[in-house]
């Protein structure tokens, strides 16, 4: 039986026999009884197993080390009022695989740096197990959201000769040790994609509603919490849609994913709330319950100027139209000013990509960023320029060679 099943049905299993295989998370010998805390990976919460010295192979069982794999037969007993809802009184325990004595994960706090050195083991810790499970459920929610709306899932090629919007430095993909790319595998220089967007746009012209959800690569040597050489990104593209529909779908997606994770990762979120980020669950719930705000970039600039005139000091305090908003500005807007997730629209054209639709003012484009408390920018999007001539003009203005986008 999986421990996840035992947890689901535990109320109806009182005094009944259960049987499972699991890994030892901790082991404590008492005078009269001993305690094994076990987990088989299918449930965030552990199972406590109690055994006494009259159990078969007691001497052997008593030696079970942390991380050993054991099988357990026993009687489930509800324990109302205790921390865990039930425990299992063992009638039979077998050690299937005894762990080594120097097993690196012991019952204490381990630093992230140390866990990084033993990356193959870190998913067994509560911290990473919570994070990876939440990631998995969030990924499923993303697929479900788009699927149920009729979006077609598109896999943009990762090996490409197109550098998208010049969104970042790219990694070269090669079978050579020189730069004679004309003799390389693909007969020309190839790189890892920095965005699947342009490919997704061509599919949106076929299916109207599409999304990519896959890996993306940036060879930027920035060691910040917002940069990774390899990360997964969601890129929806919708034909015939304007900025309002863009805002609408971003907002619905974010709420859908949060709702799914709150429903399916209750224990994991509780752990994160208690151990990693105080107030996390309230913060997520607040997004769910919030009405999103919408402001133009120009309004944001005015509000930030106003804040400075009233004594607020930003690290980048030189607030003028044209400024690329930093995380401090973004968080000020959604945390202090609006206390709600905020869509900022109509950014200056010079700080945005060439393919965004120019507004009638000639200065701004129909771009939108979603800012959320605690993070700043979570999602960025835009209405795309649909006029071929305007696109070419904009490429020329920005020094982009359209041929390299093909």
């Amino acid at each position: 039986m999986l421990i996840s099943e035992i947890y689901k049905k535990h109320e109806s299993l009182d005094q009944k026999e259960v049987e499972f295989i699991a890994r030892v998370r901790s082991h404590r010998q008492g005078k009269a009884v001993s305690f094994l805390v076990l987990n088989d990976g299918t449930n965030f919460k552990d199972v406590q197993v109690v055994y006494k010295s009259d159990i078969k192979d007691f001497e052997e069982v008593a030696k079970a080390r942390i991380s050993s794999i054991i099988s357990v037969k026993g009687k489930l007993v509800l324990t109302p009022g205790k921390q865990q809802p039930f425990e299992v009184v063992a009638t039979e325990i077998k050690i299937l695989d005894q762990a080594i004595e120097e097993y690196p994960l012991q019952k204490k706090e381990h630093s992230p740096e140390f866990l990084r050195e033993i990356a193959h083991l870190r998913a067994r810790t509560k911290k990473f197990s919570a994070i990876f499970k939440i990631r998995s459920e969030a990924a499923f929610a993303i697929h479900k959201f788009f699927h149920d709306l009729g979006f077609v899932y598109v896999n943009s090629p990762l090996i490409t000769s197109n550098d998208a919007e010049g969104a970042g430095e790219s990694f070269v993909v090669t079978t050579r040790t020189d730069d004679k790319y004309e003799d390389d595998f693909f007969g020309r220089k190839a790189a890892l994609t920095v965005s699947g967007q342009l490919n997704a746009e061509s599919f949106a012209q076929a299916f109207q509603q599409v999304y990519t959800f896959g890996p993306t690569f940036r060879a930027e040597n920035s060691n910040t919490s917002k940069h990774a050489a390899e990360f997964w990104m969601i890129e929806p593209e919708i034909a015939f849609a304007d900025l309002n529909e863009n805002i609408d779908i971003i907002g619905k997606l974010v709420k859908f994913v949060i709702e799914h994770v709150i429903k399916n990762c209750h224990d994991e979120l509780e752990y994160c709330n208690e151990n990693l980020e105080d107030g996390l669950i309230n913060k997520l719930q607040a997004v769910l319950d919030s009405e999103y705000k919408v402001m133009t970039y120009s309004e944001v600039i005015e509000v930030l100027k106003d804040a400075i005139s009233k004594g607020h000091v930003f690290e980048e305090n030189n607030i003028e139209f044209g400024l690329d908003l930093g995380t401090e500005h973004e968080r000020y807007i959604c945390e202090v000013v609006n206390n709600a997730p905020t869509f900022v629209t109509n950014y200056p054209k010079d700080i945005k990509a060439f393919y965004m639709k120019k507004n009638e003012d000639g200065k701004t484009v129909a771009a939108v960023d979603m800012l959320v408390p605690g993070i700043g920018e979570l999602v960025g999007g835009s209405q795309r320029e649909a006029s071929y001539d305007k696109l070419i003009t904009r490429c020329n203005e920005m020094g982009i060679n359209p041929d390299e986008l093909a």
Copy 2:
């Protein structure tokens, strides 16, 4: 309104007004009435729009070229007995974007080679639209299957210094134009992964049931229909499972995906059945209805020998224990011998990877391939060797340096 919605509700929309935006697939002027065949990408089947010369801007509308984007208002009229279930009698048509005269996709058959040259347009053809939609639905079914069983979705890193099982030639990922990889982005030689399996195995030790579903890369210069430099692969890993559980889950996954696609891609499959592969739907249905067969590799060898002795000739006719079965052998087994998808188990250890569990006979390993009619091998798997010492011995026997797997 999306055309998919109009199709869904068309019976209740008789004589009612509908309005939509779509692309022209064909345009035919008759004496009394003219016909536009339109599609907005959300539905495989097109909508036929009828208009007469009394429509506003008739002269303009009459010029709408293939691939132009138009908006239509009109009355839906059920057409029982005709090929399409309804048509729309237009009251207003606007050309939102007139296509160029030389638009490459015209109303005729285009070769795959030609379509490859215009890859950004090919998803608009019936053929590729059917294929990409089926791919999208199959991907969703795969996620749903594993999610509902409690599997955790894991994203194995794609940039890696580990060459897995030596499964194939790999692409180097670099920011340099020489081989001084110690000065490269990651401080050592890095490549695109050929398999996420080893990473998934370490996650299976944490979560018990996990799967990867992501891109994989092979730098093999083989131009066959079974080789691609970049492709998506599903790699489930289950702790504490033996070969029978392996077979069970493979069989269920394949049936689940087929059932989902048959249910959700009816029109696309009909198109493929009529235009790409005669009998396709029957073939899929036959897998769904079949009881899977299980044979050992040794039994397969005997059956193949027997076939030869009765006069059957294979291209590779030298059938001995140790032979790596070719597609011709695999298809003979599942098509001629069993007429059903067939699991072949216990392959010779020398033609399989080092990490598979050796059977007691000392000659074979607990590997399994699923063979399906029309294809041959569709899925490969194995019970993993769980003994560290045996793994190291096997690595040494096969000349694999265990340090390079870390």
